[in-house]
């Protein structure tokens, strides 16, 4: 499935449609991977003497209110943000997809319960949800991932259910039952693999949502805590200084965040249109 996708992508002229999104993302990802090897300032060591210095040749993005180099922090934050985003989306799929598949296949009370759960999670404002969890179970990165993962999971549950439900009565599924395969086998071997293309095409979109949410929570102080570099929290710490004309502590992380979200959204749109065209 992935192999076909990659093969189809690279062999075709259509590859260039992905260029805008990839041009943004790929360098950022590479940079994020390579960051520990670069000669950067320590991102978490405060230098009181160098506080709030404007961008200059030695501090390309300037320094923030703790005297930490913004450029270094933006790059280190990239690592954290990408990693956390990936974990959130993977968790969301891991929770949502099997639940949606089971709901679509078995129907009955399982489907009803799943629908109710989905409604509950989706009607909860994420901020409130995050706050409650953090107050109850404590602040940690793990909890953050769980919160965001659970927040996105309903989307996949609904998606997979809408794919599996009509497939339940398709002949090859009946044929699988006739050849004695159990429901679990049918779900795992037949139904989930057929759901993968739409899941993949939604992947990048969810990543965009995840990173926005992550940064949003951090901005509100509910996510990653300072001094750990994370774009959202960096924007937050720098926000107060905008009034005083110190724009750089907020704007650069904000720019980075914007580029990543935009790149992800662009790619997911292209993947989506690729699959809808294929339906011919």
């Amino acid at each position: 499935m992935l192999a076909t996708l990659v093969r189809r992508l690279s062999a075709r002229r259509k590859f260039w449609r992905f260029l805008p999104g990839l041009v943004i993302l790929v360098p950022l990802i590479i940079v994020a991977l390579v960051t520990p090897l670069l000669p950067l300032e320590d991102p978490v060591l405060p230098h009181p003497a160098q506080r709030n210095k404007a961008p200059s040749p030695e501090h390309v993005f300037g320094t923030d209110t703790y005297g930490m180099d913004v450029f270094s922090r933006v790059l280190h934050a990239a690592r954290l943000d990408f990693l956390l985003t990936l974990l959130c989306v993977v968790l969301a799929v891991a929770i949502g997809a099997p639940l949606g598949a089971a709901a679509g296949y078995f129907g009955g009370w399982l489907e009803n319960v799943t629908e109710r759960l989905v409604e509950i999670v989706q009607s909860f404002p994420i901020m409130l949800f995050a706050m409650m969890i953090q107050i109850a179970v404590g602040r940690s990165v793990t909890n953050l991932i769980i919160v965001i993962g659970v927040y996105i999971a309903p989307f996949y549950a609904k998606l997979v259910r809408s794919i599996v439900k009509p497939l339940r009565d398709v002949e090859f599924i009946q044929a699988a039952r006739v050849t004695g395969q159990s429901s679990v086998q049918i779900l795992l071997r037949h139904l989930l693999p057929n759901s993968i293309p739409p899941i993949i095409s939604q992947f990048t979109l969810s990543a965009a949502v995840a990173i926005r949410t992550l940064s949003g929570l951090s901005f509100l102080g509910l996510g990653v805590q300072t001094p750990t570099p994370e774009w959202g929290s960096m924007i937050q710490t720098g926000a107060g200084w905008m009034v005083f004309g110190k724009w750089w502590p907020s704007v650069f992380p904000g720019l980075a965040l914007f580029l990543v979200v935009w790149g992800l959204t662009r790619i997911s749109e292209e993947i989506e249109s690729m699959y809808t065209l294929r339906e011919e």
Partner: protein
């Protein structure tokens, strides 16, 4: 070998936004299939033939009556209990392309049923896959192909191979030729006949095409709206159909020995209008609204009775009407 007694199945559908209607898809159906025999089940849409098949294959639960296989009651079993029978009872579907997982290769699709067969290890299963391809006269390299690479006729052969993988004793064929081109139908039918001779399997062959029934079945059941309206040997049904519905089906079938003699004697059909599902059904003959021979007595419930030895019909006027086909079969 396979015996159905008073099998009944109802469905509830929404006929409009607020009204729910109960449809009796299968109404106290009784018949049996002997070992090595082919029984043809004929009927149009809504007659319940597919529902019967799904009941036999344990894809849905029946509500009344019983189904026995080899003397053993199978209709009340749960999935676990039925599992051991799956290698003996198999099915071929109408739409070849839809009956295969588009992501699986043919080899993978053929390996699936082999999991039911005890005592076959990995290497033996691979050998069996190639054997099966040979059995349905397809080249070995088809094993690596995907369903969309093959034609309808080729896929249907593979469907037959899949059904026969574990050497079943009974196969239910749900309109296996209806989705295929005219010139290919014979390939599948002849293949099924050959395999039946070799392997001594019983077939319940569902179709609406009487020409195919002519080649395949020795006994024929005709169904209409969930009820069996006539049963008999092939010769009896084709030459002296007793029920007006059977007569109508025959009249609507294109017959003739050769191209030159092709004709359809539709003017002989006693049927008018459409198949009406359960509208205003008051308990008498279900064909009543459409039958040219309808009379007052048709409003009474009709029973399936033996009009001649081995030839049953559900029509009180059958002998009186004395219907006959004039085209030689």
């Amino acid at each position: 070998m396979l015996e159905l007694l008073n099998v009944t199945k109802r469905f509830t559908i929404r006929s409009s936004l607020l009204k729910h209607q109960e449809i009796v898809a299968v109404d106290r159906v009784c018949f049996s299939v002997a070992e090595g025999e082919t029984v043809g089940l004929v009927g149009e849409s809504g007659c319940g033939k597919s529902t019967i098949g799904r009941g036999i294959l344990h894809l849905l639960d029946i509500e009344g009556g019983s189904i026995r296989f080899g003397g053993r009651l199978i209709s009340g079993l749960n999935e676990g209990g039925f599992r051991s029978l799956r290698k003996d009872i198999q099915m071929v579907f109408q739409n070849p392309l839809a009956s295969f997982n588009p992501l699986f290769t043919i080899r993978q699709s053929l390996l699936d049923p082999l999991a039911l067969h005890p005592g076959l290890d990995g290497a033996a299963r691979e050998r069996r896959v190639l054997e099966l391809l040979e059995m349905v006269q397809l080249p070995r390299d088809f094993a690596g192909k995907k369903p969309h690479e093959l034609s309808g006729g080729q896929l249907q052969r593979i469907a037959v191979a899949r059904a026969l993988a574990c050497e079943p004793r009974f196969v239910f064929l749900d309109e296996p030729t209806s989705a295929l081109d005219m010139s290919i139908r014979g390939q599948i039918v002849n293949l099924l006949l050959d395999l039946q001779e070799q392997l001594k399997i019983s077939y319940l062959f569902v179709t609406h095409d009487l020409r195919v029934v002519h080649f395949v079945a020795r006994r024929v059941l005709v169904m209409y709206l969930g009820e069996i309206v006539e049963t008999g040997s092939r010769a009896a049904i084709f030459r002296t159909p007793l029920h007006p519905y059977t007569h109508g089906l025959l009249a609507a079938t294109l017959v003739g020995r050769s191209a030159r003699q092709l004709q359809r004697q539709i003017h002989l059909s006693p049927l008018k209008g459409e198949v009406l599902h359960a509208e205003g059904y008051a308990g008498g003959c279900k064909l009543f609204p459409r039958c040219a021979y309808a009379a007052a007595g048709c409003r009474e419930p009709q029973e399936l009775r033996e009009a001649r030895p081995g030839h049953q019909v559900r029509c009180w006027r059958a002998e009186e009407l004395g219907l006959e086909t004039t085209v030689a079969f």
